[in-house]
């Protein structure tokens, strides 16, 4: 077999070394009645046939290199320079385990340290961890962290937050009897927080792409003894005020925007940053700088006493495997882009989105719902069902936006479409969408 190198002769020789005669002897402790049951699996394919079959399956899907796509809502078709993939596919990176032996893992450890720093620079926060599964689960963990810090059991979340984030938050909170209240996170509301409130969560830009003015919010939240959690899109932070500048206590982001392919939803990477004072309550791995016995600068995993392998049931989280390789790709992406490139991506997304909104607003029967300014997506009311529009657009090699008709995030309004444009949706694509919609009127 291609991945089991021992030859028949070697297997026999090895069995003999340990005084056994056949492979079945290795299973002697297993009750006979559970051994070798029927298992129905497809016939094996050799590598050439396998590759052909997988290519065939992949081509049953409409992909963003062949379709113009206007979907956002938590997964974005941003550009990733070729250098990023080439870096993440270095054998030493992708076939490594968690860097528990630092002498053999300086490459990944230093990269984690760089990632942590980059997340801090982007968010304006003090410390960041090595990654979480995704933004949604990170949000769940953040709420629990806030509850633990404040010893309170109520979470206030802004209603126009991604519905799946809210759903995951609910699952996590539920385990600890934490109550979730959906309430707009503006200053007025924040001035009336009840004393049970552990934290206030606000997504910026929100689910409808709207950019909210969060100035002053933290003061109110802190006055109520609660913690402010801002859920951000990392690309937007190239231009928008950062969670740190807003004095957030915890900042959570979905790192997928940072050059990670959409991959039908994963693997992505949860970004998690907080204030220095909360570092020991934070979930997830941390790399720290130190020295080796010769005084040479080096890196190790540190503050591990927060983690499950040391603290077991007392750990800050049960997370073990995280999204290290995705974080590596995001690190490489951020380095390639730099501050200027990141701003360019943000500006192009912003302009493309408004270009599209400005054109669609003029189409009969369409009405923009999102309040300006929005960042890279906006909600629009449509004359016919967005699902139907999407169906027809596919024929134009266009993947339309998300049908959010009747959802809570738009107060149950019918025929609402969430459209997204990034730097990859250039003028040609935007015009093509508008023309197609015109043709459907």
């Amino acid at each position: 077999m291609v991945y089991t190198p021992n030859t028949e002769a070697q297997r026999q020789e090895m069995l003999e070394t340990m005084g056994l005669s056949k492979v079945a002897d290795l299973y002697e402790e297993v009750p006979a009645e559970v051994l070798n049951p029927p298992i129905d699996l497809p016939t094996p394919l050799a590598e050439p046939q396998l590759m052909a079959e997988m290519r065939r399956l992949s081509e049953l899907n409409a992909d963003a290199t062949h379709y113009a796509t206007f979907l956002g809502a938590g997964s974005y078709n941003h550009f990733s320079p070729s250098a990023v993939y080439r870096i993440m596919s270095r054998n030493e990176f992708y076939t490594a385990y968690t860097p528990y032996q630092p002498e053999l893992s300086q490459g990944i450890l230093q990269q984690i340290y760089e990632f942590q720093t980059l997340v801090c620079q982007l968010t304006g926060m003090d410390v960041a961890n090595a990654s979480m599964y995704d933004a949604a689960s990170a949000l769940g963990e953040a709420a629990i962290m806030a509850a633990n810090i404040t010893k309170r059991k109520k979470v206030v979340i802004s209603p126009k937050t991604h519905p799946e984030h809210k759903a995951v938050l609910r699952t996590y909170a539920d385990c600890h009897g934490i109550e979730i209240v959906e309430r707009d996170a503006n200053i007025k509301e924040a001035s009336e927080l009840d004393p049970d409130t552990a934290c206030v969560i606000v997504q910026q830009p929100n689910f409808l792409g709207e950019i909210r003015d969060l100035n002053g919010l933290a003061v109110k939240v802190h006055e109520a003894g609660a913690i402010l959690i801002i859920l951000f899109d990392p690309i937007s932070l190239a231009i928008l005020k950062s969670p740190g500048e807003y004095d957030a206590d915890i900042a959570i982001g979905e790192g997928q925007s940072l050059g990670i392919p959409m991959q039908f939803g994963g693997p992505y990477v949860g970004l998690f940053a907080t204030k220095e004072k909360y570092v020991r309550s934070m979930p997830g791995r941390l790399a720290g700088m130190t020295k080796d016995v010769h005084g040479k600068r080096g890196f190790v995993l540190t503050l591990q006493t927060r983690e499950q392998h040391i603290r077991r049931e007392k750990a800050t989280s049960n997370i073990c495997t995280n999204e290290a390789l995705v974080a590596l790709a995001a690190t490489a992406y951020l380095c390639c882009m730099g501050p200027q490139g990141l701003k360019r991506v943000a500006q192009l997304s912003l302009q493309h989105t408004h270009y599209l909104a400005n054109r669609i607003a003029k189409l009969p029967g369409y009405k923009i719902i999102s309040r300006e300014p929005f960042f890279k997506e906006f909600a629009v009311q449509t004359p016919i069902s967005p699902t139907e529009l999407n169906r027809r657009l596919l024929e134009h090699k266009i993947i339309g936006g998300l049908d959010i008709s009747g959802t809570k995030e738009v107060d149950g309004m019918e025929n609402v479409w969430l459209l997204c444009a990034t730097e990859l949706n250039g003028k040609e694509q935007l015009d093509r969408l508008v023309a197609a919609l015109e043709g459907m009127a």
């Binding site: 959409m262 994963g266 500006q347 169906r391």
Partner: protein, 495 residues
Amino acid sequence: MSVEPLIFELSSPGRIGFSLPAVDMDEAPEMDPALLREELDMPEVSEVDVTRHFVRLSQKNYGIDIGFYPLGSCTMKYNPKVHEDVAILPGFAHIHPYQPVGCVQGALQVMHELQGMLGQIVGMDAVTLQPAAGAHGEFTGILMIRAYHRARGDANRDTLLVPDSAHGTNPATAAAAGFKLISLKSGADGSVDLEALKGVLSDRVAGMMLTVPSTLGLFEPNILEISRLVHEAGGLMYGDGANLNALVGHIRPGDLGFDVMHINLHKTFTTPHGGGGPGSGPVACKSHLAKFLPGPLVEKGEEGYKFVEPEASVGRVKNFWGNFGMHVRAYTYIRHLGLPGLQRVSEDAILNANYIRANLTGTYHLPYNRICMHEVVLSGKNIKQETGCRTLDIAKRLIDHGMHPPTVYFPLIVEEALMIEPTETESKETLDQFIAAMKAVAAEARTDPDMLHAAPVTTEYGRLDEVTAAREPNLRWRRPVPVEPDDLEYVEQAG
């Protein structure tokens, strides 16, 4: 090799490393400066800098593609290269999770068939692919157990049983899911102590989390009896499937009495560990738990594949449909190997571990003298007693012999534990080299213990100071504050 600068130290103001079009429109409204950030201090480097930096860093890292990596409980097996080529096909890499299902039928087929194949392999009725890793799967499964009891009005079951040999994520998950915990002491042979188990079973027990084979690398000979006892007491059996590599193709956890379990695709199904992730932790369950699975699942309908929501779902644990990129790789692997290939995986994983056991027993203490499964746990306590060298020293010295050390000090119940999982992708030649190295280190411990204390000495880095790292954590780089002439003046005046 010299110290690699931090990427921040390579930055030069104004340097760029991207190639993007210019902004050629002015459509957005002007924004209130109160919404905008002031500065963005990030590294400014070229693509050349970035490539070199990370290529050089990569060379400071060990991976399976460099050599043997026998971390116990981690199943560090070879990652087939064809998986990577499959995963980057545009039809898998560049599809959005919210595309209309009609235009992602290939992706849904992969997910649907993977659900089915995993169900077959573990002997369970339903599978969700949503959890992102093993621990996330545990969390999901435990929520399902709670939902099951709640749905039956059996609301008092607030306790989970976890053997003391369990992986740290088990107790951590129990706590994260809001359960109380009873830790079960293992018996003298490493197995669950049936009497102790009986002693703690009650109507407060929601279930038991059990790893088979255990983290001691041992099959649980009384597994059928354990399951019977737990079930009899009204509890459910949660299976930690991290060690499925030992069973795959020959033994189905479903047949052992487990009601629900997770599977680590990044272990048994060889999706790359990537320096700590991503993983993927599908959860499989028997039919009586199926309606509690997190949604959505993929079903095959009249008009093709579609998403469906289980009727009493515990809710979402993750955005979208899970780590699809890992599903694709695991699916590719199963279709490549088929049942005969998977059986061979289990056989050679066990054979390799036992070969190491047979050859190192005597040199190292073997705490449980039984045939092992996919891994063998040895103890360095004999060496420690005799020479003062700890298992940590042994591990570090192994590095000098050109090998990645096994997992050390876990499971916690074995003194000076050395947990060795060779996996089936290693050849006898490699095992022989490892065995020779382990023997050489044991001999060195006797003749020159200081050499072990000082190890590693052949690497670029010597032992790193973890104590200071934890005491005075330096978790991020900060721009050195430029010394202003004024400051200097001040210093001079003060000095």
